[in-house]
């Protein structure tokens, strides 16, 4: 990574996670479905956390709460120094802009935007100057080996390239925490290794806290914390 691409690591408070009795219950018609229940968690700054568990164990639910994509039913949650126990819509939007970067299994690039524009998107949404955002996104994409793909559309990229673009997008606003939901789920093993290596780099070289929800064992060697979930509860 070039020195211009990221700032120095944010303060510890912006890279740590605290959860107490974290519970998310969904209502589907008259039925209640428990996503997670009574999860307690303390992640200090700079950790590489791996969330493990079967499908339906609550990994994605936990990750979406940490990413500010969803609201908890009860409990207390502080991510990157922000209280997410009962946030307003505006607070959640601001949180998603600045505090965390999210990497999805299905990449989720916008098909009408080029690689460079996709990477710039969160910066523009946060009100950044477009020139500054472009420069920063170009640097990030070069670091990720995509400098010859800047003007391509997602449909012209391989799976690995799409996921690296998504990582650039997650990093554009210099968040202290990177969250990844099955980041290798749609990749071949070669690209999967490359993506995991990148996330590990972000954690080790740039002191970002990284939380990865995955079935894969590829990330295990880099993990500093492993959290196993079962039926919505922390099993170990």
């Amino acid at each position: 990574m070039q020195t211009t691409t990221t700032s120095a690591a944010p303060p510890d408070s912006e890279r740590s996670i605290q959860a107490r009795d974290l519970t998310r219950i969904y209502r589907v018609g008259s039925v209640s479905v428990t996503g997670i229940e009574g999860v307690n968690l303390s992640v200090p700054a700079g950790q590489m956390v791996v969330l493990k568990g079967e499908s339906g164990s609550g990994k994605s639910t936990l990750l979406s709460l940490l990413a500010g994509l969803d609201r908890l039913t009860h409990g207390a949650l502080t991510v990157a120094g922000r209280d997410l126990s009962a946030p307003s819509d505006t607070e959640l939007t601001t949180f998603r802009r600045h505090a965390v970067g999210m990497v999805f299994q299905a990449f989720n690039l916008l098909p009408t935007l080029t690689v460079l524009e996709n990477a710039c998107l969160p910066a523009l949404l946060a009100g950044a100057n477009p020139d500054t955002a472009h420069t920063k996104a170009s640097d990030l994409l070069s670091w990720l080996g995509l400098n010859d793909r800047l003007d391509h559309r997602p449909s012209q990229l391989s799976g690995g390239e799409m996921q690296r673009t998504a990582i650039a997008r997650a990093l554009i606003n210099d968040p202290g925490i990177i969250l990844a939901d099955e980041p290798t789920g749609n990749l071949d093993s070669h690209n999967a290794r490359k993506v995991i290596a990148l996330l590990a780099d972000l954690n080790r070289e740039f002191d970002r806290t990284v939380v990865v929800a995955t079935h894969s064992d590829l990330v295990d060697p880099f993990a500093t914390m492993v959290l196993a979930l079962q039926d919505g509860r922390v099993a170990s």
Binding site: L69, D89, F104, L110, L125, A128, R169
Partner: protein, 867 residues
């Protein structure tokens, strides 16, 4: 740059990236919607421009004739003595007074009439702008020649161009029974009076006019201009000095009634043309809703990346605005083509039905252009609001899902249905609200509530329809039909709202078919019963000159001499004004009239009416007059005629479809006694029932009249007159038919787009069916069943709301706008023939959808990942 400015600029950048590129990627779909909205906007714009140009031409003509006068001296039902000018000028508050005479005349051997204005060139100069053309344009005469040389005139350039007249040229002009040769002394500069009726006007000295028409010492009215020092009481003082029967009026009163009628016509055409735009609104809704539904994951990603809900709302409303803007721009050239045809049709209809108007050109009215722009963009943005609200409600959590599906929310169905039901309940009370004169605002508002209400109820209707029919359809069309019913039941609000386009178009079609049929049936009945004479005789150009000049005495004498052969129904017609309501006052003999003709009574006791009417103890009034003035049976009809007041109760109200403000009938003998006026404005001639050879009798009468005074008369065969009235009726509705066809065209685009959208939204589901062993034939069959069911629901709802709309149009809108109602008659033949055609068109519109459904390999669509 401030942070908020940066945020706006970034928002615009995102709009370009996210919205505009997407619209470009789905070019065909976008173009179809743009064509729909452009057609709607073009119809709306061109209709408004055409009617506005007609209204402007009429208003300008009237304003140029009114000039700078502050007051007009008139004699209701007659003319004022021009000697009054001297007395008026003596009043200290009067600065200028000018008498005027006007009449439509025509050159001998030419059929085109034009307006001849007789004025005093000296007295008139302070009141009206009229001057001879620039001397540099050619040798110019002195306007004083109008006074020094009898039978001279100056003409507008429109007239010069039309007849090819040049200064110095002499031409015989005909008015009534008189013909005289006039010499053109010069052409008027294109200014003031010269612009009246598009320049088809001539001005002569009032003395010449009086001699030509035999109206010695008379003027139609005298215009006054008051001193700057005149007080508000001056008008009262002047009025008090006027002889009995002479009144003081605002100079604009003459034109107000005409303007009101054109405005009513404008509103009715605006409403009809807005329907096309309203149907286009459903197209915009379809497109934006599809984009919002198909891009749910992208929206979730945007939210997860830090986009606020408001930003997503703005992006989708902005999408509607862009469609509106581009649609409006595309509408401009289409409007340019349409407006030329509409202008001729609209001005022709206005001249035929309301007031004489000559439109010489189209002016681009800034307000009209802004209105059409505003309405088009607002309609498109409004259509985008609901999808935009759906978009802003997308949870960022959906970004983590493997696949997303459009949500189906029963609660929304109920909310929409409650809202729709509420609007429908309001239709009747709103339709009964009072409306400004001649403007049926409450009627049109009620019609709009009906359309929106039915569109909002459509989702629930579709749901129940699908549920109800599933089993029957399964028996009828197998699994594809059952799946189609199932899909409609659960397809969501978007599908149902899209059907609104069809419902609206079918409703409009049904309502107009019923209204036109009812109107036509009633008109034919009225024509047959009320205009049942064999021959009608009236002075030349009587209609244009509003029956002010009676039949020449020698004509009356000739007719009286043949009463052994024919029955005569003479009448005296005056154009009067009751509190701003211009109407026709007609004196006739009830017994003579009812030998051949019948009144179609709406109110009053017919047996009592006949007796009281013949004794002159009351008047009967037309429905139009009653509705315009608010007067009913038993109310007094008080009117000034000449120097006397007529004050008689209204005995009955009858149907009448003459358009110039309604009619009032009074007994002829009583009129002649009271007002000492034995002249006839016209006469209906009927061959006696016992005549041996009616055709020969009629030929003899014609020959006698032509020999005696043919040049002064118009003789119209009763059958031809009846045919002409029905023809005028049909021509009047030609514009309506064009507007209806365009609305149906937009609806057809709507059906095709809706079906394509339905298929596109479910490509994965459809291909899952293929993957599970469904055949292409079964898939095609399912889509056709869907198209059929959509058409069926749309037609049923459209027929029902069309029925209600027709009641609104006939009994509210027409009554408030034009003062008349019709007998309610449903044209079952047309409706029963049209419905299968619309149904077949809906099935045809499904073809692109079928092609789309079978376009992609199932595997490609079933694979996950970025679309």
């Amino acid at each position: 740059m401030t942070q908020s400015m940066q945020t706006i600029l970034n928002g615009l950048r995102l709009f370009r990236w996210f919205t505009l590129r997407h619209l470009r990627r789905r070019l065909l779909r976008t173009l179809a919607v743009l064509v729909g909205i452009a057609l709607g906007a073009a119809v709306f714009t061109s209709v408004r421009l055409a009617v506005q140009a007609t209204l402007t031409a009429y208003s300008n003509s009237m304003a140029h004739i009114t000039g700078t006068s502050d007051l007009s001296v008139v004699r209701p039902g007659g003319r004022v003595p021009d000697g009054l000018v001297v007395d008026l000028l003596r009043h200290p508050a009067v600065q200028s007074a000018s008498p005027l005479l006007s009449a439509y005349v025509r050159p001998a051997h030419q059929e085109t009439p034009f307006l001849l204005l007789g004025l005093d060139p000296v007295l008139d100069r302070n009141l009206r702008r009229w001057r001879l053309r620039d001397p540099q344009a050619g040798p110019s005469a002195d306007w004083s020649a109008l006074m020094t040389h009898p039978y001279t005139m100056v003409i507008g350039d429109g007239l010069a161009e039309h007849f090819g007249w040049q200064p110095g040229q002499a031409t015989p002009l005909i008015h009534g029974q008189r013909t005289a040769e006039f010499r053109v002394i010069d052409i008027l500069a294109a200014d003031g009076v010269a612009l009246v009726e598009g320049g088809r006007i001539a001005v002569c000295d009032i003395a010449t006019f009086q001699e030509f028409t035999g109206l010695h010492g008379q003027a139609d009215w005298i215009d006054l201009r008051l001193n700057g020092t005149a007080s508000p009481e001056s008008a009262t003082e002047i009025a008090a000095r006027l002889p009995p029967g002479i009144q003081l009026r605002s100079p604009t009163a003459r034109s107000e009634s005409g303007r009101g009628m054109i405005r009513a016509y404008q509103l009715s055409l605006t409403f009809l043309s807005f329907i096309s735009l309203f149907v286009g609104m459903f197209l915009v809704y379809s497109l934006v809703a599809l984009n919002a539904a198909a891009r749910r994951r992208e929206l979730a990603v945007m939210r997860a990346s830090g986009a606020s809900g408001n930003l997503l709302f703005a992006l989708f409303v902005g999408e509607g605005a862009v469609i509106g803007l581009v649609g409006w721009l595309l509408a401009l050239p289409i409007s340019g083509l349409l407006v030329k045809h509409l202008l001729a049709a609209v001005s022709g209809t206005v001249s035929m039905l309301f007031v004489q108007v000559q439109v010489d050109g189209l002016t681009l009215d800034t307000w009209e252009v802004l209105l059409s722009f505003g309405v088009t963009v607002a309609v498109a943005m409004l259509a985008a609001v609901q999808p935009a609200r759906e978009a802003m409600a997308v949870s960022p959590r959906e970004a983590m899902a493997i696949s997303t599906a459009a949500s189906f929310r029963p609660a929304l169905f109920r909310r929409l249905a409650i809202g729709g039901g509420f609007l429908l309940v309001l239709v009747y009370p709103v339709s009964q609200l009072p409306s400004p004169p001649s403007l049926s605002l409450s009627g049109y508002l009620a019609a709009l509530l009906l359309f929106v209400g039915v569109a909002l109820l459509a989702p629930l209707l579709l749901r129940h329809f699908g549920r109800l029919l599933k089993r029957r359809l399964q028996r009828l069309g197998g699994q594809p039909a059952a799946l189609a019913a199932d899909y409609l039941r659960s397809s969501g609000v978007q599908t149902a709202i899209s059907i609104g386009a069809l419902i609206t178009a079918v409703a409009l079609f049904t309502a107009l078919v019923i209204m036109v049929h009812s109107f036509r049936t009633t008109t034919i009945l009225w024509v047959e019963q009320s205009i049942a004479g064999d021959l009608y005789v009236r002075p030349k150009l009587a209609e244009l000159n509003r029956f002010r000049d009676p039949l020449p005495p020698q004509v009356v004498a000739k007719l009286i001499s043949v009463t052994d052969l024919v029955d005569l129904v003479p009448m005296r017609r005056l154009e009067l004004d009751l509190k701003g309501h211009t109407h026709l006052f007609e004196a006739m003999d009830y017994a003579d009239y009812t030998v051949r003709n019948r009144f179609i009574w709406l109110d009053g006791d017919p047996s009592r009416i006949a007796k009281a009417f013949q004794r002159g103890q009351g008047v009967v009034v037309s429905e139009v007059f009653a509705n315009r003035t608010g007067l009913g049976v038993g109310d007094p009809y008080r009117i000034q005629i000449g120097d006397q007041q007529l004050d008689e109760p209204i005995l009955g109200i009858f149907r009448d479809y003459r358009t110039r403000g309604g009619a009032v009938y009074y007994a002829l003998t009583r009129y002649q006694e009271r007002f000492d006026d034995v002249s006839w404005s016209g006469v209906q001639i009927n061959v006696a029932a016992d005549a041996e050879n009616p055709a020969a009798v009629m030929d003899r009468i014609r020959t006698d009249l032509i020999t005696c005074c043919g040049a002064a008369l118009e003789m119209i065969d009763g059958r031809n007159l009846r045919r002409a009235i029905v023809q005028i009726f049909d021509e009047t509705f030609a514009i309506t038919t064009v507007l209806l066809l365009i609305a149906l065209m937009v609806a057809a685009i709507g059906i095709a787009t809706t079906l394509a959208v339905l298929v596109l939204q479910r490509r994965r589901q459809l291909n899952t069916l293929l993957a599970m062993g469904g055949s292409a034939r079964q898939l095609r069959s399912m889509i056709f069943w869907e198209a059929g069911l959509i058409a069926l629901v749309g037609q049923m709802a459209g027929l029902a709301s069309g029925g209600v709309l027709s009641l609104l149009l006939i009994f509210v809108v027409n009554r408030q706008s034009f003062g008349w109602t019709f007998l309610y008659r449903v044209d079952w033949t047309t409706l029963l023939l049209a419905m299968p055609l619309i149904f077949a068109a809906a099935l045809l519109a499904a073809l692109p959808a079928v092609k789309l459904a079978l376009d992609s390999a199932p595997a490609a669509l079933l694979r996950g990942g970025t679309p």
